[in-house]
Symmetry: C2
Subunit: 481 residues, 2 copies
């Protein structure tokens, strides 16, 4: 069984690893140079740090290579929650919002580190060959053959000459949002396909360690400066630096470029970023020099052709980054794909078909949630009603485990429940919660009168909580009944 | 000014003609062989007869070459309306439904004839060069250069060697639903793009002339056999043959292939097709031999890059065939594009930008209407309420021209009003009409009592009409006020 993987990013490398531990002959072809090559600029890929969560971790562990998963996890910075940076009544305040009422963390990690670890592992396996600087120029899925162009200065028996042809049993396309494999798949499969560039561009900023070699702001958070029409975030790196990103409309970027008032914009909208994280000069320089890049959202289906080809990761469902699930979903694709391949060892067509059937609604759900989460991050996190709703929801989650209650965020981030089922469960809960929050609001008003000026805030909160729990239990009984 | 057109179908050829009559240096590159070449099979393109209507005719006339338009129009078969073939109370009946209350026709024509006429005209112009069997392999819109592969056995100074590069001022992509130009455009433009294969496949059948050399059924109609889940149509050709098409789901085709019961299916669902149009043997043979092809619907935007490139026709908005507007919309693209190029002779970027801005909502509207019209053709045309609504609508249209009333179908088919404005006008009218039809229904019931058994049907109809007109005038005054 010969498996060819196109793309040696984290998702492609993991797919190759799953195939390799099953004893298949694996060949990986990657257009870019080897990221481990010291001459390769560290920024040659466009996404450099990531939030690894349960789905990604689980998919790494399921390789069976626990050394690998442990090594990857050791090289991360835990993020307990969001830290929101806002100005309230003229004061700069930071508010921490825990991600998970049970205390589970997101793990900030360097995409390149993860990729390196996977490729090192692959390279040590006798049944795996990796070719960098190889461009796929064609696939014939019906004949299970593909053509590549060798753009490296290396040649070997397999890849002689500038162009060569190979055959495969299964070709896995993990070649990103602008996937060549998907383009060839579309020629033989009637594919429903949608791509959309959202209204926001992004620009990355490096935030150095402080002069005494420490993190400049608390490390164990995903920092957010929400400004409705734009947003600035910072994610920690193990070397005490942060990687920051500005999200803003194209028009916004153009206005700032024309006016030159970047520092003024930051001072007004992103309190204390200048000079706590970055100097005025550095901000201006990075704003000008670093690329302003678009964000694409892609949905398609099916993901496969017969028993010959399948796409995973961004090639199948590139999403906007606002739920931190892009890479996690890609790694999960690999786990799900190989579960089906293991389940139907004698019928790969059926396995790939089941993969498409299961993964299409899941990928489309997380794609939509990621689009929706921009609003939450850029705006809702500041609003009292959002915070009250969140508090009620998390209170139920912590205090009433018997209800099986969990927030959508926690199910997406800290479980392996199918995305489409997460969404259905959340919609069900939302119907209950909306009535509950209405009740809670009424109770707050009542309680405020009752306990006002009496040091009774804690009593009031407990009273709300009791009311809320009873109401929720009642509502759930009604809905389930 | 050098204009390169990719694709020499009717839309590409018309674009080349518009550029050529403006004195530009025009080069046309077409992947397929010359359709005029006798060795080229007549079925080498997938769509062979078409309904030409006002937008197409107008776009041909606006070339200024009245000989050309007249020659094209002379070679058509007028279709006054639909002829619906159904079984009612066990009887096979044919019902004619006029397309236009003012008596205007659709023109059935051979796509190849139109294409031939356009290419013959182009070839006679000194500033035009046409290259067949040339594949576009790349475009650099920023540098305004493109690469082609010469697959013909001819070479000349311009196209020496198998691969060559050229430069252009403007490149027009008219290379169809699977447009290579669009694919290259997507690399430099953040394009919103959607493609969808609908649930129906199509299969074409040739219907020969009768033994005495005449049409087998009345020629001046688009014949429809509606069967809800499938549909059979027939369009006349000038040589007394018909071209027929079966539309049915993939599962439907597969079932018929497996069971072999094509004749039985036709006898049950499409009365008198066998043997009036086609023999049992011929039906079986054509069903097996002729391809079962998918139907794709494509929307995208923008259609252009800077001043360098633009897409027209199916490349910009492939649509399903159920409104008979695919080619008409493509020809209209050319008229609109050149109107903007004429309007802004010194600012092509602006002209292309305006073209995208105007054409995006128009193309998306007709695309949606075409999707919606399948239901009307396959099912609604049989229903009494549909027929009553159509009768009321057309009565208003004929008897009250002062209202500026027209059906959506007539505006799409017999006017040059922007598709998006047609839709808005129709939505406005629908709001009025829905109340009017409700009123008319009530009046019908009332009148039936009043005139029953009294030979008063005509009186009843006139009564309804008077009521309807008054109600419509009143309703329109309310809505416009």
């Amino acid at each position: 069984m010969k498996t060819v993987v196109v793309g040696a990013g984290p998702v492609g490398a993991l797919a190759a690893l799953y195939a390799a531990v099953r004893g298949q002959d694996v060949e990986i072809y990657e257009l870019r140079p080897d990221i481990r090559d010291p001459s390769t600029a560290p920024l040659n890929t466009k996404s450099i740090n990531l939030a690894l969560s349960e789905r990604g971790i689980n998919s790494l562990r399921r390789t069976g290579l626990s050394d690998l998963a442990d090594a990857v996890l050791a090289d991360t910075v835990p993020m307990h929650g969001r830290m929101i940076h806002v100005t309230k009544l003229g004061e700069y305040v930071r508010e921490a919002q825990q991600y998970d009422a049970h205390g589970r963390d997101l793990l900030a990690m360097d995409r390149t580190q993860l990729n390196r670890a996977l490729i090192d592992h692959l390279e040590a396996m006798p049944n795996v060959k990796i070719y960098f600087k190889h461009k796929m120029i064609g696939v014939d899925f019906k004949k299970k053959s593909a053509w590549f162009e060798n753009r490296s200065d290396k040649t070997d028996l397999l890849t002689q000459g500038p162009e060569f042809k190979l055959t495969f049993d299964l070709l896995i396309g993990a070649d990103g949002a602008h996937s060549a494999v998907r383009n060839h798949l579309m020629k033989v499969v009637p594919m429903t396909y949608q791509q959309e560039y959202i209204d926001k561009l992004w620009c990355q900023f490096g935030v150095p360690a402080s002069p005494n070699g420490d993190f400049r702001i608390p490390p164990n958070y995903l920092h957010i400066w929400p400004a409705d029409e734009s947003m600035f975030i910072a994610i920690p790196n193990t070397d005490k630096t942060f990687t920051s990103t500005l999200f803003m409309s194209k028009e916004g970027f153009e206005e700032l470029e024309a006016s030159g008032k970047v520092v003024e914009y930051f001072s007004k909208n992103f309190p204390a970023v200048v000079p706590d994280l970055i100097t005025e000069d550095d901000l201006k320089k990075q704003f000008t020099n670093n690329e302003h890049l678009p964000l694409i959202s892609i949905k398609c289906t099916p993901y496969h052709y017969g028993s010959a080809g399948v796409i995973v990761g961004d090639a199948a469902h590139a999403m906007v980054p606002f739920y931190g699930q892009g890479m996690n979903a890609g790694l999960e694709d690999v786990r799900v794909l190989f579960e089906f391949l293991d389940k139907y060892p004698d019928d790969r067509t059926r396995a790939l078909n089941e993969y498409t059937k299961q993964r299409t609604p899941d990928a489309q759900t997380i794609n939509d949630l990621a689009l929706g989460n921009y609003r939450e991050m850029a705006s809702d996190v500041k609003k009292p009603l959002y915070l009250l709703r969140k508090w009620v929801e998390e209170t139920l989650y912590v205090h009433l485990p018997s209800l099986g209650w969990a927030t959508q965020y926690s199910r997406v981030t800290f479980s392996n429940m199918r995305y489409s089922e997460v969404y259905q469960a959340s919609q069900r809960q939302a119907r209950i919660l909306n009535s509950v929050v209405g009740l809670a609001l009424a109770t707050v008003v009542g309680s405020a009168f009752l306990f006002a000026g009496n040091g009774g805030l804690q009593k009031a909160k407990m009273g709300i909580l009791r009311g809320v729990c009873l109401a929720a239990q009642g509502a759930q009984r009604v809905i389930q009944g």
